[in-house]
Each structure stands twice: as C-alpha cells, then as structure tokens.
Symmetry: C2
Subunit: 626 residues, 2 copies
C-alpha cells in the first residue's frame, strides 16, 4: 500500500508542481516519472529499514566521548548510526542532484528534496547529511578546481563528511564578533595546490557532526579573520574569510597524508533533542596536535595552528558561506516539516485505533453505547486538521522552494531570475514557518495521545523535542525576521515583494472563478493587500530600529499569508484533477485548506496591528523594569 | 535582597488582593502581615535549600524499580527527594490551611497558595504534595469522622502521602468507562470502624506518586464501580463510588497492622518531564499480595482483592472526587505558572548577562562598538515581556482563585456564594490558561538562550519539558473546554457568567477614569461584550455537538479575556499605590499590561469567529480523508 507520505509527495510533485515537465530541459533529459519514482521508492525503503527502527536508540544512546589514546577524545556513536550513514551514502543520494561529471545523477533538486523527506520523517538526527551536501555545494560554487576535486568530490561520493563552523562561544547570532584568526602559513603559503594555506586558531561552538568516525575525514568550512598589517582583526563582517580545514590532512590527489590536523574536540553539547547528531565545541589550532612544524613552524614554531585553505577572496567569507547557510536554512525548514509530518502520522494512527468516549448526541451521551475511536471527536479532528494544514502546507512550501532552485538553474532567463529572487524572499519563511508551526503540530500530536503522549513509550514526545532546535539553529527566528523585514522585502526597491504579490494574486484570481474557493480567494486578496500596506506604512517612518522591533510578528503574519496562498493553490490543483477528486485524500486537502482559511489566516490581524503602528511597547521597556 | 518572585507575591497579596483584610475574619484572627511574611520567608528558604539545587538530579536520576524481596517491585528515588519531602512535611505546610484541631495553622488559603509557588519554581517534580493535601481535603469533606481522623489527619501531619486513582489503561478522559470493581468484603463489611469495607480489583494508570518509600504509607483514593445485583457494572458515571485504599492496612487508631494490602506496582511510566515524581500503573486486587483471607476470603477465597473503605454514598464517587479534582486542577494551573516563572527569571538573568550584537542605530550598526547585553534588543524584550505577561498574569489569576477559596469559606453569605460560583467558572481557565501559555513562555525562555537554551547545561529546557504535562493531566485541554462551554457558562441559566461579567465591567469602569488605562478599558469592554455575544449566538442554535466542536478556541478566547481583566486590574492597583509607582517594577507591570492589550487580546477575534458561526470544518472531516 502506498504510504500517506508517498501519496502526498506524488500529489505535490506531479499534480501540483508538474515535476515531469522538468524532463523537457536538457539537464534532466534522461529522467522520467519512472526514474523519479524509483528514487522515491529507494529512499522510502532505506528510511524504513535503516532509519526508522533506530530513531529511539539514537535518542537514548546519545553520543559520548572516550579517550582517543592520543591525549584527546573520540566520539562513540551507536552502530545503527554507522549503518544508516553507510546506507545513505551507498544510495548515491549525497550527489543525486549533481552533474554526471561529479558522479551525480542530475536529478532535479525538487525530486531530491522530496525523496529526502522520508529520511527526515524516519529519524531526523541519525543522519546529518544535509551539512555535507551543503558544504560540498559551497565549495563547488566558490572553491578552486582543485578544492572541488579534492574536497567536494569526496563529500559527494560519501568518503568524507562536511561541517559548517560559524558560531563561537562568545559569538552566536552576532557573526561580526568571531575571533578565530587565520594567518598565512609560512613563506610559500600561497603556492599550495589546495589553495592559499593558513594557520587557524580559535574556538567554534555548536558544530553539528563536528567530530565522529562515520567517515575517514571531516571537511570543516570555517569562518575566520585574517589579521591586518597591525596584527589586529577587522571589526565587523567585512574582515571574515572562509577556509577549508580538514580533520585529516590530504594531498592534492585527495589521499590522506597520515597527518592529523590541529583540531581538538573540546566537548559535546548535550541537547534536549536531535541527539543522534553530535553537537561539538571544537578548538582549532591550540597546539594539541602539532602538525608540519617543519613548514614554517605554525603559530608557535612547534606546529600549532590548524591548517586551512582559503576559499574565495579574503573578506568574502560570509558571502561564500551564505551559499551554504541558505541551503541549510531551507533544509532546516524541511527537517521541521518532516518532524511535523512524523507526529501527524503517528497521532492519526493513534486516533484511529484508540477507543475513548462517545460523541455528544441530541440527548447527551449514551454511556451504554460502545466507545468510539478518538478520531470520532470533533476536537481530535481539529487537532489533526491543524497538524495537516501546518505540515502538508510546510511541505508544499518547501517543495515549491526546491522547484525554484531548479528553475533558478535551468529555467529560461526570466524564469531563472524570478526564481532566484523569489527564493531569496521566501527563504526566511521556509526556515521559520515550519520550525514554529510544525513544532506546534508536534505538541498537538502529544495532546491527541493524552497521557501516553508524554511517555517515552510513544514517538511523539521525541519529535517535539527534536523539533525545538529548529527555531534556533541556522539562524534564530529573530534573525530570520530581521532578514525578511529589514532586507528581503526591501530588495530591489520592493520589486521582489511585488513579484511574490503577482504570484499570490494570480492564484487568488484563478480561485475566484471556482465557486467553492471564491471566498478563500477574496480572503487571500485582502490578506495580501493588508500585508503590503503594513509593509509600506511601517517603513514610511523610516526608522529601522522602530520598524524592526516588531519583525517577528511580521514574520509570523507574512508566513501565514504565504501558506494561505500555498493552500489555495493546492486546493485549485485538487479541484483541477478529476483523478484526485475521486479520492478521500482530495476531501482531506480541501478540508485542510478550509481549516487554514477559517482558523489560521485570521490570526494575521493581531500580528500586523503592532507592525503597522510600530508599536514600541517592547522597545520602550527599561531593562530594570522586568 | 528581595527576590523578584517575592516582590511580585507581595504586590499581588497586599497591594492587589488585600490579604491582610482577611485577618479581620474570626478564622484568621491570630494572623497578621508578620505571620504571612514568616510563612513566605520559610518556604522560600526551604525551596532554595532543599528543592532548587536538586531539580536537575531528579530529572536525570529518574525513579526506577528494583525487586522488593517479596516478588514485587519497590521504587528507588534519589536521596534529595527524601530530604525535600521531609523538609516540606516538617515545615507544617501540608496542613497550613487546616483548622487548629487538625494540627493546622488556619492560614488563609491565599497565603498558603502563594507560599507554595516557591517550591513549584524551585523544583516542580521533587515534591508531589499537592495530591496529598487534595486527598486529605476530599476525605475531610466527604469521609466519616473515623476516616478523617485516621487518614486525613495522618496525611496532614506528614506521616502518609495520598494519591488520586481515576484513569485506567482503557479509560483516560472517559471516566464512565472505568472497570475497576468493588465488592462488599464479607458479611460484616458494613460494620468496619473505618467505613464500609470492599474488595477492589482493577488496573489504574497515570497514578502520580502511586508507589514510593517517602512515607510509611500511601492513601489511595480510588474510583470503582460496585456491581449491581446481576453482577454487572452500571454503565456511565452514575455507577462510580469512591474508596480509600491504603497501601498498608491500618487499625482504627491509625497504626499500621503490618498487613500489606493487595496492591502491586505494575510499572513506572517514563515521561518527557516532571520526572522526579513517579507515575505508576497500579494493579489493585489481583491476588499478588493476598490479605486477610480469613475475613471472608476476599475475591477468590484466598485473600485476593485490595481492601478499601467507601467514602460517601454508593454512586456518589465522582461527585466526591470532583472536590479533589477541582483542587488538583487549580494546583496544576499553579504548577504551570511556577514553571513559567522559573523560565522567565532564568532567561531574564541570562539576557542581562550575555553580551551579543549591537542595537541598530540611525546609520546601521557600528561593528567597532562593544557588544551589548541581549536585553538591549527589542526582540529579546518582546520575548521577556510576553513571558512576564503570561506568567505574572497567570500567577495573579491563580491567587485570585485562591482568594475566592477563602471568601467561599469565610466571607459573608453573599460574598461566599459569589466566590464559590466564580471559582467554579474560573477553574477550567485557571487550569488551562497557564498550562498553554506558560508552556509557550518556557519556549520563549529557551529561545532567548539561543543554542545554550536547548542544552541540558541550562535549566530552561527542563522547565519546558516539565510543563508539557500540564495540558494533559488532571483533565486535558479538551476536557476543560467542554466543561467551560458545555457546563460552566450555562450554570444557573448564565447567572454565573453574568457575575463574572459584572466584575470585569467594574474593573473596566474604574480604569476608564484613569487616563493611561482608558483605552485598555474600552478594549476590555468590547472584548467582554464580544465574548458574551458569541456565547449566546453559539448556543442559540442549541445543537450541543455543533457548539462544542469549537470548545477549545472558545476556551482560549475566554482565557485571554479573563487575563486582560486581571492585567487591567493589576495596572489599576499599580497606579493606585504611590509606593509602587516609585519602583521600576511598577513600570514593568504597566508595560506587561500594555503588552497584553496590544499583542495578546486582539487574538480573540480569530478564536471567536469560528465559535460564533459554529464552524463545522473540523467536525465535517471524514476519518478516511485525513
């Protein structure tokens, strides 16, 4: 039997996003519905066999350290994590969207993203592959051919894993304050075949998969500052450069040289969720593992300093890293969505099987009648419908964004430009909206289970814990909100926002002509106009500090308008397709759309009211008044 | 230095609720501001010394079982739990609100409730005393003098602990389906000095503190059904009776007889939070511990059956138990509030100490300037202010309810009647509103901590996990909502709701005359009218099933209106008091009130819209359409 997730993905990919139409483009010419289906089949099978059964194990047997015999620490992970990693790498999914020359299969990113949802649903934390592909993609985009050949290629083929090292203990959201230094490594520093060679020293915090033995090497992408002639670091983000810092040093052919780089695991963070993936504090270049002392002597003459190869120009580090960060943000949105869906399916199964209570009839309840399944109760349906509208809506939005990635790369010129702009605008929503609303969905999944929901005998409490990280890592809600209101809606003098508005209006116009959707269409049109008006009114005063004080309520309202648009478009696609209408799932989608318009979209009024008037209640509070 | 919690309690007790005025009543004549202060001082000291330092330990060293040497299981708890229990019992707080004859100190319940907040903030799960006092109070209200003397008295004096045994594995929210049977215990069953004696058999689930060795005995209050003449159980709640079932049998003087009752610990539930308190599955009367086989032979002739003493009349069990359940519901609201406050204070400390980023100035940010404390950022203030408005508002509501308990017992006739009715109406709000909104507060406390928030090195993630139980135990959100919309607002033909409305209007009228609050007053008046109109319109159709389908959104809106009223009344009290106005805390309270009116109250429109039109989107969904 087709799983509910697979049915939903099929609808979104084919009935809604016309994935097959991509095969008309040269890059995807070898593909077809059959190859797409085969990828989804394979991923669902691996996720079911190698991920799902072990999701609780990676939570209870969380990563631990033991002495590595060289004065440092090694990380111990359960065997199932090694198995899952191997199965994923063997599937070829790490490079699925890459060129044939890269060993990839030139799969549309849309299909790649859809296939990965199976893994996220089965166990979000057993695999941490999103950073590996993101890392390799950043090197492909900004690295030299040698860097691509040595580092990116060995990540795509599964030999090595990758990380993203931005935060430091004293610098989380505030990247301009990073203090990791990178100094040229001796005289011939700029003649290394792997790129300009530096010695790095500094501490990096919150590094996911920063240390493990799942792969023979780990490729760290590290932000650091190159000191000026006065030896001082340049304040702000302008001084930041990007470096490839491998755990084990390699030669120009990608073979391990047997030299361990000067990177020490300082400790593991113990988290409330997402426990299958290590979260590390890494000390770079403190001299714990001196390396190549003969080559310039490192930072202390005795080989201290982690050896790293600069990617891109000095001072361009944050720009290069944003490539990876944007990809990671969308991946986090997808992870939050997958966790939300996992909880939705679990609570749906439970609600169908668990008998409890009786419906209220005209004359009250008949205590002598047999109990009914939970799902017979309206309030249980409400909680299921809320989950469905959050999670399937978030899935649709994320796949829409994945399709924009494809259009940005392979569409015609106008299509490609529009797609890239829209993607930039929607990235903070794709990251933040699922991380907030699919977390709420997980809470509802617990609620449906009653007392069983808060026990560790059921899966839903873990989804909820796992999901709580998503509003924080890869840029907090506050950071996404500042990005949206402070930068993205202002891009090109507002032309990007206008582009989105045209798409929303097009959906509303199409729906206005379809009687069951006409009211929703009018409601969406009003909501959009309200959003646009508020954006303009807020910025009319022009004081950024006042406007941005309410960036988060703005983000929440913007997200709800986007999701209303998505749901209306999904409803249109459902009604367009006769095949769809024959299925109960079709009534389900129309019900979820209706739920979103009746129960969710009206929430924007309260959020936008404070943005519109630049409400200063919060900003005005004195610190000592709390 | 006075702690922030103590300052807030002092304001609420004295500037707002005029606690000292209670000392004019005969029952409280021995009391004064000094005795009240002494109780608060003592509780804060014990909570700081015996609770707070061990909150993480009871989370990580959760209760476990080991063989008891008699073929069963015993529960092992960390030593700190024993210490905390002893310190609490020794303080006299278990009986503080009781009569002098009961060994109590005739403390107003208001002050008792306020003092207990210190324990809830310090460690919600190390103590589980709320059920002991609730259990003893139910016996005082419905038991015989002997039952009061033997069971209630020994709970108040700390010798024994109490539980509440309602749910069964197949019957959670649906109490009418409980299957535990109680049969008269032999010929002389109704001549026992401890009350009519029965033998019980059945399984009870989710029993908090159902087994432990903190006390020499445990007094279970158990709902069970007495079979009819045909041996069958009566369907529905009418067949339910209430029984005292002690773990160890006792004589009429309250001395242990050395006989173990036939109650077996079947297992512990392992929870996502609130781990310091055992949560048990208890098997009553399965013959594991045969007892008094000579006395009628029990259920099998060999002593099977847990011996229990009926409390109240047959079939009146649920009514008697509601006494305890209502008390437990308010206690859960207070627990959720205490957890919310704990997170608020933790994140406030963190926001004041942690340096991160720079404020946006007229010309953007100056990367060369030193970093500022987190609390300098408007979005951090927003998250602090939201927490403050949720948690201090919830605290005020709960203390208001505690004052209603005092007025219901010791006020003049009219005052007492009004207080009892208002308390009935507000109980579902006092339970549900903090459990939802203070949970959200805990999530904001995590968010303020950034990555540190999701690690177990900080306290906030535990508060969030602990708090997640509160929307479920002692009656889920759905149950509270049905109680409110289906029963409480209809009480006395709506007269109880009208009574609340008069109090709300009185506050709004007083505030209308105070310029800084006039707008809030008008907003509250409108919100109240909207709530009343919607209540009437929804019930005008009269179809209970349709109306109650949206009981939860109604509960949410009702709660927000009540909290807006509370906040406006707090703002009035703040402005009334010159002493208060001199303090920064006064600006803080006015800011929190303003926050609630600007950011929170407007949310009711979305919730009430679906109630008003009896929106059937959820109820109409077919099970197979999900």
């Amino acid at each position: 039997m087709t799983s509910p997730l697979r049915s939903t993905l099929d609808f979104l990919l084919h009935d809604w996003l016309q994935a097959e139409s991509l095969t008309a483009r040269p890059r995807f010419a070898d593909h077809s519905r059959e190859t797409f289906d085969a990828v989804l089949d394979t991923c669902e099978r691996i996720a079911r066999g190698k991920y799902a059964p072990f999701n609780r194990i990676v939570d209870t047997e969380e990563p631990r350290t033991e002495p590595d015999g060289a004065g440092g620490l090694r990380v111990v992970l359960p065997a199932c994590t090694h198995d899952a990693r191997r199965a994923y790498a063997d599937s070829g999914m790490l490079a699925a969207a890459q060129d044939y020359e890269q060993g990839g299969m030139q799969l549309p990113y849309l299909v790649d993203a859809a296939a990965n949802v199976f893994f996220g649903c089965a166990s979000i934390s057993i695999g941490s592959n999103l950073l590996t592909t993101g890392n390799a993609n950043a090197i492909l985009a900004h690295g030299t051919p040698a860097q691509q050949q040595v580092f990116a290629a060995n990540e795509f083929n599964g030999r090595w894993a990758g990380t993203m090292c931005l935060s430091e203990p004293q610098a989380g959201s505030s990247l301009s304050d990073i203090a990791t230094r990178a100094e040229p490594d001796g005289e011939g520093f700029d003649a290394d075949p792997l790129g300009p060679r530096y010695r790095l020293r500094g501490n990096k915090m919150w590094i996911s998969a920063g240390e493990h033995e799942l792969t023979e090497n780990i490729v760290h992408l590290v932000l650091a500052k190159i000191p000026g002639p006065d030896g001082k670091l340049v304040p702000g983000v302008k001084g930041i450069s990007l470096f490839i810092v491998p755990k084990q040093l390699v030669d120009a052919e990608g073979q391990l040289t047997g030299e361990r780089n000067d990177i020490a695991l300082a400790g593991l963070n113990h988290k409330l969720g997402w426990r299958g993936t290590t979260n590390t504090l890494l000390n770079f270049g403190e001299g714990k593992y001196p390396v190549r002392a003969e080559q310039g002597g490192g930072l202390d003459g005795a080989g201290a300093g982690a050896i790293g190869y600069r990617v891109g120009a000095p001072g361009e580090g944050l720009k290069c890293m944003f490539h990876m960060m944007n990809e990671a943000r969308i991946a986090i949105g997808m992870a939050a969505t997958a966790l939300g869906l996992a909880g939705y399916y679990a609570s749906l199964d439970y609600a169908r099987q668990r008998l409890q209570g009786r419906p209220m009839g005209a004359g009250g309840k008949d205590a002598g009648a047999p109990q009914v399944a939970l799902i017979a109760h309206a309030d249980i349906k409400r909680m299921l419908l809320a989950q469905k509208s959050y999670c399937e809506g978030a899935l649709a939005l994320n796949l829409y964004c994945a399709r924009l990635v494809d259009d940005g790369r392979t569409g015609d010129a106008q299509q490609a430009q529009d797609a890239r702009l829209l993607l930039e605008l929607l990235t903070p929503i794709a990251k933040s909206w699922p991380s907030e609303n699919c977390l709420e969905a997980n809470s509802l999944a617990i609620q449906i289970h009653g007392g069983y929901g808060y026990t560790r005998d059921f899966s839903v409490e873990q989804y909820w814990r796992d999901n709580r990280l998503n509003m924080i890592h890869e840029g907090t809600h506050g950071i996404q909100a500042m990005d949206l209101l402070g930068r993205k809606v202002l891009m090109q003098g507002g032309a990007t926002l206008a582009l989105l508005a045209r798409r929303v209006r097009a959906t509303a116009q199409a729906a206005a002509a379809v009687p069951p959707l006409a009211l929703h269409a009018a409601q969406l049109g009003d909501a959009l106009q309200q959003l646009l008006d508020v954006t303009q009114e807020a910025w009319a005063g022009g004081d950024a500090q006042q406007v941005l004080a309410n960036a988060v309520p703005y983000l929440q309202a913007f997200g709800h308008v986007v999701l209303a648009w998505v749901w209306l478009d999904l409803a249109l696609a459902t009604l367009r397709s006769d095949a769809q209408l024959a299925q109960p799932a079709s009534a389900g989608r129309l019900g979820a759309a209706r739920y979103f318009f009746h129960y969710e979209l009206p929430k924007i009024d309260a959020w936008l009211a404070v943005v519109r008037r630049c409400d200063s209640t919060c900003a005005d509070m004195a610190s000592e008044a709390f």
